[in-house]
């Protein structure tokens, strides 16, 4: 893509959406990646030749997907209210969650993933527990299983539930602040993995929904998640941060050499090592270790830990 004028950057040449080009310089588009690769890395005098563009495109997209999974911090955020069945349908481009929070009165309460079963399918049975079938010989199913129903009506006991913000302990309230004579929350035999008074959730990947505990009924949820960067199949929107550009080329070179017949193993290995080293570099670059930020973190070094 050619460089753009300031007017194009700030106002998109007065074409809606005006903000289209804001921050675009950080990214290199998929179109540019494929064009550059075809121009520079494949040809009669290069290591790679006789490549079809669709092969290059495939590996470029695969590289971008891999980056989105574990290296890039391109987090998408979606806020929705849970539905009547206390669930949240996963967004179309969802791959994995980063954090799920309950939004209440301007505060985000991070929620814990429930390791207990919160849903189940069920078969209709008669009084003798024999499974009932329809005319086609298929098993019949109820709309909700007993597990589902108890999750929705709050009848399901959970190991996550506390008794309130201060575990029901006696204390003193002074100027709106609570004071206690001993540490709150100390509980012998407490399973720290599940110690959280906030509502909990569990993800049913196959159904594409997040189930919440019954206390989330009608509440607002903020889902932070990662996608694969494929922008719902719109190739012209796909891009990758320039800090990763060299890695993408290295990834494509390696993938193409690795799948090509007759390429010497030392060449494949060279490409593999280059790819791995560049991924490490790119991750370091993206970790944003600024002196200013480190200084802020280090200010906590003298804080007393009880």
């Amino acid at each position: 893509m050619a460089y753009i004028t300031d007017y194009q950057y700030y106002e998109n040449n007065n074409v809606s959406p005006l903000e289209k080009n804001w921050g675009s310089y950080q990214y290199v588009s998929l179109e540019d990646i494929v064009s550059n690769f075809m121009l520079i890395y494949q040809g009669n005098n290069e290591i790679l030749n006789n490549l079809e563009r669709y092969q290059v495109l495939f590996h470029a997209k695969r590289g971008i997907q891999e980056l989105n999974y574990d290296a890039m911090k391109e987090i998408k955020i979606l806020q929705l209210t849970v539905d009547a069945q206390i669930r949240f349908v996963l967004p179309q481009d969802y791959i994995n969650y980063v954090r799920i929070s309950h939004y209440n009165n301007g505060v985000l309460f991070p929620m814990t993933e429930n390791i207990q079963t919160m849903w189940s399918s069920a078969y209709l049975q008669d009084n003798n527990a024999k499974i009932l079938f329809d005319l086609n010989g298929n098993v019949t199913k109820p709309e909700n299983s007993l597990v589902d129903l108890s999750r929705q009506d709050g009848g399901m006991a959970q190991m996550y539930l506390g008794t309130g913000p201060y575990n029901g302990q006696m204390g003193y309230c002074c100027n709106g602040e609570w004071f206690f004579e001993y540490g709150i929350g100390s509980s012998f035999g407490l399973n720290t993995e599940t110690a959280n008074a906030n509502p909990s959730f569990t993800i049913n990947k196959e159904q594409g929904v997040i189930y919440f505990s019954s206390d989330m009924s009608g509440k607002s949820v903020v889902l932070e998640y990662v996608s694969d960067g494929m922008k719902n199949g719109n190739d012209s929107d796909i891009s990758v941060n320039k800090l990763f550009e060299e890695f993408i080329y290295a990834y494509m070179r390696y993938s193409l050499l690795n799948s090509k017949y007759g390429v010497q193993e030392y060449i494949v290995n060279r490409a593999r090592k280059e790819k791995t080293a560049l991924l490490r570099n790119a991750k370091l670059r993206l970790s944003n270790m600024h002196p200013g930020r480190l200084l802020m973190n280090m200010r906590g070094q003298d804080k007393w830990i009880k």
Binding site: E31, N44, R53, G233, D235
Partner: protein
Amino acid sequence: MAMINNVRNTVLAIINKNNYGYLSPQDFNLYAQQAQMDLFEDYFYQYNQYINRENQRQSGTGYADIVKSLEEVIDSFSVQAFLTGGTANRWALPADYYLINKIFHYPRLLTNGTTTSSNTNQLINIALAGQPSPPAFNPIGTGFSPFPLVGSLVVNTDTLTESFVNSVVSVDTLNLATNIFTSVVVPPNENYSIFDANTIVEVERVSQNKLFYLTSSTLTSPSTLFPAYVLDGNNITVYPTTIQAAGAVKTQYIRYPKAPKWTFVSIVVGEPLFDASAADFQDFELPLSDEPGIIAKICQYVGIEIREAEVYNFGTQEEVQENQIQV
């Protein structure tokens, strides 16, 4: 000096034996075409050979860059042409193509319409004023960019000729770089499309056996950014199927060399006299350096025609020698 006359004179001199070796102009033209085609095709095989040599570091640069000179000859047959649209996303290829080097697509159609009047080097369409995107001109430098931008591609979709926008004169008139609207009928009613000349994407050739895998994959499915085509007969089918705008698909291809023709005027007594001014005259299109090769080839054909083994052998030896030098 026409190369074809030199070749004919040389061939006649070689085959002349006791004044009975004769080659008629008609036969010469036939053999000349065969010889030229033979050498023309050879260029592509030689090109491949020299690429391989380059990769083995057996070929140099500068004056030793054989690949470059081969490319120059092949490129002298390079032609660009808009494809004629058939039904939907099917497009007809030019009849004279030897090798389709690339197909490309202009995805950004700025506007299209029909001319209402004609003037040299201008596109005039009075119906444009009042339409959603009429030409926007900038007579006193108001800071707005003219539309369509100077340099935009204008295609006469009836004649498939192209030009570029030089300036926007008014809301209904554009100045063009060349005269592509030449109809003398009033009103001319010539159809046109205007494209963004800077946005060009290559349409990739895909073999028929890969097509369905390609279109059914979410990662490689053809899009306007990465379109693809398959070849069947003298037509191509372009994917995605939405690529249908007239004048939006163009090709760069290597054409066949034109058939050489030694033209002449007959005189009552003696040899026909060479006439390079005849309307159907056609010289060889290969470079002058190929003259010995063409002569050797023609000698082989003529040797067979006049049943003269020595002529045939001479032609063959010359060709072998030539090839050895190149190796």
